[in-house]
């Protein structure tokens, strides 16, 4: 059986179930308790678990990220919520230099079983400082795992898997997805980190996406279908580790790949995928791997300009057509 619930409810279910299962798990962040969560992800959790396990913090991301890491290295399993991943920039040192490296620089003596989570990438007209797609920065770092679910079921299953993982796992959510509904299986539901899935099968081109861009890719695929073009949508779900097997298998079927992601085109997840696919599936490709990303400028406030900067289905469609126009030449 499955129930249709919202993305934020799925995340909350994951945290509640894991906190009920394991006394070592606790939630920490700005406004997670008394305020009931800036985006109501943790609504009701303070009443359920008390101040010991739902910990409101001051505005000090570097400080409370570090507190989480310290607690994790001596055996607790913290969930640290960033009100948005944009604010993690001031905690970048903690995640880069401590969470990611503790295990290796201690020769494998210490672990850092911690989850950092929060909304990532653009919201609506929140300006250049609140619209970053931070996953590109973190996915380059060995020692971290980075996941970016698109659907409530994956949000729940991946968050539960992240909480049980003995490594630092970063969960990229989206403010604009919190109200999105989807079926979530009843009972225990875990999703293995590092596994993509085919969100829509197709045969002419592969669209690789994650988080909110999976919906954009699906919209583009629906539009392309009307023009007789069959697009396969690979929902990556996990960015590090990256499921290159599913990507390669898809490209071997479709021979063309477009990566759709928020964030700038210089480097990042799309560039990484382009590198891997040309290395691993060179003979299967009929055309270069293309990317549809946020334009290479800081995000403007203007609603029209913001939408123009962000990847949209019509830009994906035109990119696919450009790709197909190359034919097999």
């Amino acid at each position: 059986m499955a129930r249709s619930i919202r993305f934020r409810d799925a995340l909350r279910e994951a945290m509640i179930e894991e906190m009920e299962r394991d006394e070592r798990v606790f939630l920490m962040g700005e406004e997670v308790g008394h305020y009931q969560g800036a985006y109501k992800v943790s609504e009701g959790m303070l009443d359920k678990f008390g101040e010991k396990r739902v910990v409101d913090t001051p505005i000090a991301e570097g400080g409370f990220a570090g507190v989480g890491i310290g607690a994790a290295m001596v055996g607790l399993r913290p969930i640290v919520e960033f009100m948005t991943w944009n604010f993690s920039a001031v905690a970048f040192d903690q995640i880069l230099n401590n969470a990611a490296k503790l295990r290796q620089m201690s020769g494998g003596q210490l672990d850092c079983p911690i989850v950092f989570r929060g909304p990532n990438a653009s919201a609506r007209q929140v300006g250049s400082q609140h619209s970053h797609a931070m996953e590109h920065f973190y996915a380059t770092v060995p020692g971290l795992k980075v996941v970016a679910p698109a659907f409530p079921a994956d949000a729940k299953g991946l968050l539960k898997a992240a909480i049980r993982d003995d490594n630092p796992v970063l969960v990229m959510e989206s403010e604009t997805l919190y109200a999105a509904k989807g079926d979530v299986p009843d009972g225990e539901h875990l999703v293995e980190i590092g596994k993509a899935h085919i969100a829509r099968p197709g045969k002419d081109v592969t669209l690789a996406a994650y988080s909110r861009m999976t919906y954009v890719a699906l919209d583009a695929a629906a539009a392309l279908e009307k023009e007789g073009i069959s697009a396969e949508v690979v929902d990556l779900r996990s960015l590090r580790p990256l499921d290159e097997n599913t990507l390669v298998a898809s490209v071997e079927r479709t021979h063309r790949l477009v990566v759709v992601h928020e964030g700038w085109p210089y480097g990042g997840v799309g560039a990484e995928i382009a590198d891997r696919v040309q290395r691993l599936a060179f003979d299967a490709l009929d055309a270069p791997v293309l990317r549809v990303s946020t334009l290479d400028v800081p995000m403007p406030y203007s609603a029209k300009l913001e939408q123009a900067c962000m990847p949209q289905a019509d830009r994906v469609v035109s990119t696919v057509k450009r790709l197909l126009a190359r034919g097999r030449a």
Binding site: F26, K52, T57, P58, A60, G62, G63, F64, A65, G66, V67, G68, I69, G70, A71, A72, M73, V74, G75, L76, V90, D93, Q94, N97, N98, L102, R103, Q104, M105, S106, G107, G108, Q109, L110, D111, P142, G143, K145, D165, D166, N167, I193, G194, R240, P241, L242
Partner: protein, 340 residues
Amino acid sequence: MADTPVSTLGGAAPNTRTSADLEHLSRLYREMLLIRRVEEESARSYAEGKIGGFLHLYIGQEAVAVGALAALRPDDYVITTYRDHGIALAKGMSPRALLAELYGKATGCSRGLGGSMHMFDKEHHMLGGYGIVGGHIPIAAGVAFASKYRGDGRVTLCFFGEGAVSIGGFHEGLSLAALWKLPIVFICENNEYAMGTPLSRSMSVEDVSLKALGYGMDRDRFFAEDVLEVEKRIGEAVRRAREHSLPTLVEVRTYRFRGHSMSDPAKYRTQAELEEHKKRDPLHRSRTALVEQGLGEARLDALEKSVEAEVADALEFAAKSPEPTLADLEPTTYKGPFAY
């Protein structure tokens, strides 16, 4: 409650020395001497090219580590900066594990993957040395947070230099520890120079301990010349942490006799200043006290010889140990299957 800042200058210790006192001081002197000799041999090995990277020596500051850690239970936690050799040894790490780490060997405390700045010893609850100034201070608060969460009665000691007091991590760590009343002692080892910059050129207020006032935290400040005084004063803060779950900021004034690192000739200070500080060498003071209290040259000689033997053994062990291999990297990067 930590609402009112309280200066916690202790009263004078009773001046009655028992044989137990003598044994205790003798043990602390031996620990300090071990640190000094390990550091001197490290400097020699560095000059010989057997140790790479950075090497920040603890020579001159031994009374801080040894005195502070004497105030702890074995299961208490310690965490510090990159000048971490002395603290690791005082927490119980063997000279073998430490020197092998410096030599980059697989038998080192961190399998040769950490190096001078990253001495970790989980068994002894030495939670490491950290290379980004101030970055470990919130982590230390997190360790203390875990102790309070579990109610395990442990105390965390967090060491850092006065150079860390200007960076955000110090303030966020202290702020959270005070807010949540965590069982922790923040120990600022004020050795007067942040690399080459004296305190007078880096802080508007040179009394570091005053930073505690704004956080409603207890504080203390003293010079680490006498290892027993360090033990007593840190002991008061440890008690406050253990019995009342309250943090303390302790500024321990000290001095490093060597440069910031091996590449630093320390031209920013005069030879006269260095010589003046060497007169207050904590090792010399403890040794003199031991002689005055009747330990006897024969026993001191035996103690010093045993330190020499331990250091020689550790150097030989480090030299003969195997290096880590590429196969060590994947399992130490992730726990479980390697993710790429």
